[in-house]
Amino acid sequence: MPERPRDTHALDAFMKGFSATGGGSAEARVLVHQGFSVHNLRLRGQDHAQAFARCGLPAPPANNEWAGDDETLYWLGPDEWLLVCPEGMATPDFIASGAPPEPMTVNDLTGGWVMLTLSGPGARPLLERGCTIDLNPAVMGEGHCAQTLLAKSPVLLATHADPERVTLLVRRSFAEYVALWLAHTGEPCHIAFAFQARHAAGS
Protein backbone atom coordinates (compact mmCIF):
# COMPACT_ATOMS: atom_id res chain seq x y z
CA MET A 1 0.00 0.00 0.00
CA PRO A 2 1.47 3.42 -0.92
CA GLU A 3 2.42 5.56 2.01
CA ARG A 4 -0.22 8.11 2.82
CA PRO A 5 0.63 11.52 4.21
CA ARG A 6 -0.87 12.04 7.64
CA ASP A 7 -4.34 13.55 7.28
CA THR A 8 -4.65 17.04 8.59
CA HIS A 9 -7.00 17.21 11.53
CA ALA A 10 -9.55 19.95 12.11
CA LEU A 11 -7.98 20.56 15.53
CA ASP A 12 -4.30 20.69 14.44
CA ALA A 13 -4.03 24.44 14.93
CA PHE A 14 -5.96 24.36 18.21
CA MET A 15 -3.82 21.52 19.59
CA LYS A 16 -0.58 23.30 18.73
CA GLY A 17 -1.67 26.29 20.78
CA PHE A 18 -2.99 24.26 23.67
CA SER A 19 -0.38 21.54 24.19
CA ALA A 20 1.36 23.32 27.08
CA THR A 21 -1.56 23.40 29.53
CA GLY A 22 -3.27 20.64 31.49
CA GLY A 23 -0.98 18.12 33.09
CA GLY A 24 -1.39 15.82 36.06
CA SER A 25 -3.93 17.92 37.95
CA ALA A 26 -6.57 17.81 35.19
CA GLU A 27 -10.08 16.96 36.39
CA ALA A 28 -11.28 16.76 32.79
CA ARG A 29 -9.34 15.22 29.93
CA VAL A 30 -10.21 15.37 26.25
CA LEU A 31 -8.96 12.70 23.91
CA VAL A 32 -9.09 13.75 20.25
CA HIS A 33 -9.70 10.62 18.19
CA GLN A 34 -7.92 9.97 14.93
CA GLY A 35 -8.41 7.31 12.32
CA PHE A 36 -12.04 6.24 12.17
CA SER A 37 -14.74 6.17 9.54
CA VAL A 38 -18.26 7.58 9.85
CA HIS A 39 -21.19 6.47 7.72
CA ASN A 40 -24.75 7.71 7.84
CA LEU A 41 -27.33 4.96 7.24
CA ARG A 42 -30.96 5.62 6.30
CA LEU A 43 -33.62 3.02 5.80
CA ARG A 44 -37.19 3.95 4.98
CA GLY A 45 -40.27 1.84 5.66
CA GLN A 46 -38.52 -1.47 6.24
CA ASP A 47 -38.25 -4.06 8.96
CA HIS A 48 -35.13 -2.51 10.49
CA ALA A 49 -33.90 -5.55 12.44
CA GLN A 50 -34.09 -7.87 9.41
CA ALA A 51 -32.54 -5.33 7.07
CA PHE A 52 -29.65 -4.73 9.46
CA ALA A 53 -29.06 -8.49 9.76
CA ARG A 54 -28.92 -8.85 5.96
CA CYS A 55 -26.33 -6.04 5.89
CA GLY A 56 -24.19 -7.88 8.43
CA LEU A 57 -24.84 -5.23 11.05
CA PRO A 58 -25.75 -5.78 14.69
CA ALA A 59 -29.37 -5.11 15.67
CA PRO A 60 -30.32 -1.42 15.39
CA PRO A 61 -30.18 0.29 18.78
CA ALA A 62 -33.41 1.60 20.34
CA ASN A 63 -34.34 5.30 20.37
CA ASN A 64 -31.71 7.47 22.06
CA GLU A 65 -29.28 4.56 22.43
CA TRP A 66 -26.03 3.38 20.92
CA ALA A 67 -24.53 -0.10 20.73
CA GLY A 68 -21.27 -1.79 19.85
CA ASP A 69 -17.69 -2.05 21.01
CA ASP A 70 -15.17 -1.01 18.36
CA GLU A 71 -17.74 -0.67 15.61
CA THR A 72 -20.43 1.59 17.00
CA LEU A 73 -23.98 2.29 15.85
CA TYR A 74 -25.66 5.44 17.12
CA TRP A 75 -29.41 6.01 16.86
CA LEU A 76 -30.07 9.35 15.14
CA GLY A 77 -33.76 9.15 14.27
CA PRO A 78 -36.56 6.65 13.65
CA ASP A 79 -34.95 5.59 10.35
CA GLU A 80 -31.42 6.94 10.62
CA TRP A 81 -28.20 5.74 12.27
CA LEU A 82 -24.52 6.66 12.40
CA LEU A 83 -21.94 3.89 12.02
CA VAL A 84 -18.46 4.62 13.40
CA CYS A 85 -15.62 2.16 12.72
CA PRO A 86 -12.01 2.47 13.84
CA GLU A 87 -9.37 2.53 11.14
CA GLY A 88 -7.93 -0.87 10.32
CA MET A 89 -11.14 -2.65 11.23
CA ALA A 90 -13.04 -4.18 8.34
CA THR A 91 -16.15 -2.15 7.59
CA PRO A 92 -19.24 -4.16 6.61
CA ASP A 93 -19.02 -5.53 3.05
CA PHE A 94 -21.83 -3.38 1.74
CA ILE A 95 -19.86 -0.25 2.57
CA ALA A 96 -16.74 -1.45 0.76
CA SER A 97 -18.78 -2.53 -2.28
CA GLY A 98 -21.07 0.49 -2.17
CA ALA A 99 -24.07 -1.76 -2.69
CA PRO A 100 -26.18 -2.44 0.42
CA PRO A 101 -28.47 -5.47 -0.01
CA GLU A 102 -31.37 -3.33 1.17
CA PRO A 103 -32.86 -0.08 -0.12
CA MET A 104 -30.65 1.74 2.33
CA THR A 105 -28.78 4.97 1.66
CA VAL A 106 -25.21 5.03 2.92
CA ASN A 107 -23.23 8.26 3.06
CA ASP A 108 -19.55 8.40 3.93
CA LEU A 109 -19.24 11.37 6.30
CA THR A 110 -15.79 10.46 7.62
CA GLY A 111 -14.26 13.84 6.79
CA GLY A 112 -17.18 15.69 8.34
CA TRP A 113 -16.96 14.59 11.96
CA VAL A 114 -14.51 15.06 14.81
CA MET A 115 -14.73 12.64 17.74
CA LEU A 116 -13.69 13.57 21.28
CA THR A 117 -13.84 11.57 24.49
CA LEU A 118 -14.14 13.53 27.71
CA SER A 119 -13.18 11.82 30.93
CA GLY A 120 -12.58 12.61 34.57
CA PRO A 121 -14.76 13.91 37.42
CA GLY A 122 -15.01 17.31 35.73
CA ALA A 123 -16.31 16.00 32.40
CA ARG A 124 -20.08 15.96 33.00
CA PRO A 125 -20.21 19.16 35.07
CA LEU A 126 -18.31 20.85 32.26
CA LEU A 127 -20.77 19.70 29.58
CA GLU A 128 -23.70 20.68 31.80
CA ARG A 129 -22.60 24.28 31.57
CA GLY A 130 -23.39 24.39 27.85
CA CYS A 131 -26.10 21.80 27.36
CA THR A 132 -29.83 21.78 28.18
CA ILE A 133 -30.39 18.03 28.35
CA ASP A 134 -30.30 16.24 31.69
CA LEU A 135 -26.81 14.72 31.91
CA ASN A 136 -27.40 13.07 35.28
CA PRO A 137 -26.12 9.46 34.93
CA ALA A 138 -29.50 8.22 36.22
CA VAL A 139 -31.13 9.76 33.12
CA MET A 140 -28.30 9.68 30.60
CA GLY A 141 -26.56 6.44 31.57
CA GLU A 142 -24.76 3.56 29.91
CA GLY A 143 -25.48 3.22 26.19
CA HIS A 144 -27.44 6.45 25.79
CA CYS A 145 -26.89 8.99 23.04
CA ALA A 146 -28.47 12.32 22.18
CA GLN A 147 -28.18 14.82 19.41
CA THR A 148 -28.40 18.22 21.02
CA LEU A 149 -26.72 21.60 21.30
CA LEU A 150 -23.52 22.19 23.25
CA ALA A 151 -22.79 25.90 23.58
CA LYS A 152 -25.11 26.37 20.56
CA SER A 153 -23.15 23.91 18.40
CA PRO A 154 -24.93 20.76 17.20
CA VAL A 155 -23.32 17.68 18.77
CA LEU A 156 -23.94 13.98 19.31
CA LEU A 157 -23.34 12.99 22.95
CA ALA A 158 -22.90 9.37 24.00
CA THR A 159 -22.56 8.15 27.57
CA HIS A 160 -20.86 5.02 28.91
CA ALA A 161 -20.98 2.61 31.86
CA ASP A 162 -18.26 4.80 33.40
CA PRO A 163 -20.21 7.96 34.33
CA GLU A 164 -17.01 10.02 34.09
CA ARG A 165 -16.68 9.28 30.38
CA VAL A 166 -18.64 10.98 27.58
CA THR A 167 -18.07 10.69 23.83
CA LEU A 168 -18.70 13.82 21.80
CA LEU A 169 -19.12 13.85 18.02
CA VAL A 170 -18.89 17.33 16.54
CA ARG A 171 -19.13 18.51 12.95
CA ARG A 172 -15.71 19.36 11.57
CA SER A 173 -16.56 23.00 10.94
CA PHE A 174 -17.65 23.43 14.58
CA ALA A 175 -14.77 21.44 16.10
CA GLU A 176 -12.37 24.28 16.79
CA TYR A 177 -15.13 26.42 18.27
CA VAL A 178 -16.26 23.57 20.56
CA ALA A 179 -12.65 22.80 21.56
CA LEU A 180 -12.09 26.47 22.41
CA TRP A 181 -15.30 26.52 24.43
CA LEU A 182 -14.25 23.37 26.30
CA ALA A 183 -10.78 24.81 26.93
CA HIS A 184 -12.16 28.11 28.19
CA THR A 185 -15.01 26.65 30.26
CA GLY A 186 -12.81 23.84 31.59
CA GLU A 187 -9.98 26.14 32.65
CA PRO A 188 -10.89 26.00 36.38
CA CYS A 189 -10.58 22.19 36.33
CA HIS A 190 -7.26 22.28 34.42
CA ILE A 191 -8.69 20.61 31.34
CA ALA A 192 -6.11 18.72 29.26
CA PHE A 193 -6.25 17.80 25.57
CA ALA A 194 -4.37 15.00 23.80
CA PHE A 195 -4.46 13.39 20.37
CA GLN A 196 -5.19 9.67 20.39
CA ALA A 197 -2.25 7.72 18.99
CA ARG A 198 -2.75 6.53 15.41
CA HIS A 199 -3.26 2.84 14.80
CA ALA A 200 -0.09 0.94 13.89
CA ALA A 201 1.06 1.16 10.27
CA GLY A 202 0.02 -1.64 7.96
CA SER A 203 -3.66 -1.14 8.60
Partner: protein
Amino acid sequence: MLLIECPWCGPRDESEFAYGGEADISRPIDPDALSDAEWADYLFMRSNRKGENREIWNHQHGCRRWFVVERDTVSYAIRATFPMDGEGRSP
Protein backbone atom coordinates in the same frame (compact mmCIF):
# COMPACT_ATOMS: atom_id res chain seq x y z
CA MET B 1 -38.45 28.53 27.50
CA LEU B 2 -40.69 25.65 26.41
CA LEU B 3 -39.97 22.03 27.19
CA ILE B 4 -41.19 20.15 24.12
CA GLU B 5 -41.71 16.39 24.04
CA CYS B 6 -40.28 15.08 20.76
CA PRO B 7 -42.23 11.90 19.87
CA TRP B 8 -38.87 10.12 19.30
CA CYS B 9 -36.30 11.79 21.57
CA GLY B 10 -38.41 12.75 24.59
CA PRO B 11 -38.47 16.10 26.41
CA ARG B 12 -36.04 18.65 25.00
CA ASP B 13 -35.42 22.36 25.28
CA GLU B 14 -37.17 24.71 22.84
CA SER B 15 -33.79 25.86 21.46
CA GLU B 16 -33.41 22.49 19.68
CA PHE B 17 -36.63 23.00 17.68
CA ALA B 18 -37.83 25.04 14.73
CA TYR B 19 -41.44 26.22 14.49
CA GLY B 20 -43.20 25.33 11.26
CA GLY B 21 -46.55 27.07 11.54
CA GLU B 22 -50.13 25.82 11.53
CA ALA B 23 -50.65 22.07 11.11
CA ASP B 24 -53.13 20.27 8.82
CA ILE B 25 -52.60 22.48 5.76
CA SER B 26 -52.36 20.28 2.71
CA ARG B 27 -51.30 21.34 -0.75
CA PRO B 28 -54.28 21.42 -3.17
CA ILE B 29 -54.27 18.32 -5.39
CA ASP B 30 -54.88 20.32 -8.58
CA PRO B 31 -53.37 23.82 -8.19
CA ASP B 32 -54.27 24.72 -11.81
CA ALA B 33 -57.97 24.47 -10.96
CA LEU B 34 -57.68 27.14 -8.25
CA SER B 35 -58.35 30.84 -8.65
CA ASP B 36 -55.61 33.26 -7.58
CA ALA B 37 -57.59 34.06 -4.45
CA GLU B 38 -57.92 30.38 -3.52
CA TRP B 39 -54.22 29.80 -4.16
CA ALA B 40 -53.28 32.83 -2.05
CA ASP B 41 -55.56 31.52 0.69
CA TYR B 42 -53.69 28.19 0.71
CA LEU B 43 -50.29 29.85 0.52
CA PHE B 44 -50.57 32.77 2.93
CA MET B 45 -53.70 32.73 5.06
CA ARG B 46 -53.55 31.13 8.51
CA SER B 47 -56.26 31.02 11.16
CA ASN B 48 -53.98 32.44 13.93
CA ARG B 49 -56.43 31.48 16.67
CA LYS B 50 -56.01 32.69 20.23
CA GLY B 51 -55.77 29.63 22.50
CA GLU B 52 -55.69 26.01 21.40
CA ASN B 53 -53.74 25.42 18.18
CA ARG B 54 -52.30 22.53 16.22
CA GLU B 55 -48.81 23.39 14.99
CA ILE B 56 -45.95 21.61 13.26
CA TRP B 57 -42.49 21.71 14.77
CA ASN B 58 -39.17 20.26 13.58
CA HIS B 59 -36.64 18.75 15.98
CA GLN B 60 -33.90 20.57 14.09
CA HIS B 61 -30.92 19.85 16.35
CA GLY B 62 -32.11 16.39 17.39
CA CYS B 63 -33.67 13.73 15.16
CA ARG B 64 -34.64 16.30 12.47
CA ARG B 65 -38.23 15.00 12.22
CA TRP B 66 -41.43 17.03 11.78
CA PHE B 67 -44.25 16.40 14.24
CA VAL B 68 -47.50 17.93 15.47
CA VAL B 69 -47.79 19.92 18.69
CA GLU B 70 -51.09 20.89 20.32
CA ARG B 71 -50.31 24.12 22.09
CA ASP B 72 -52.24 26.90 23.78
CA THR B 73 -50.96 30.23 22.51
CA VAL B 74 -52.27 32.04 25.59
CA SER B 75 -50.85 29.87 28.37
CA TYR B 76 -48.11 28.29 26.20
CA ALA B 77 -49.14 24.94 27.69
CA ILE B 78 -48.45 21.97 25.43
CA ARG B 79 -51.31 19.48 25.55
CA ALA B 80 -49.83 16.71 23.38
CA THR B 81 -47.30 15.96 20.66
CA PHE B 82 -47.78 13.50 17.77
CA PRO B 83 -45.78 12.02 14.94
CA MET B 84 -47.25 13.40 11.67
CA ASP B 85 -49.26 10.21 11.17
CA GLY B 86 -49.53 8.89 14.71
CA GLU B 87 -51.13 8.81 18.11
CA GLY B 88 -50.88 11.59 20.69
CA ARG B 89 -48.42 11.62 23.53
CA SER B 90 -48.97 13.79 26.61
CA PRO B 91 -45.98 15.70 27.95
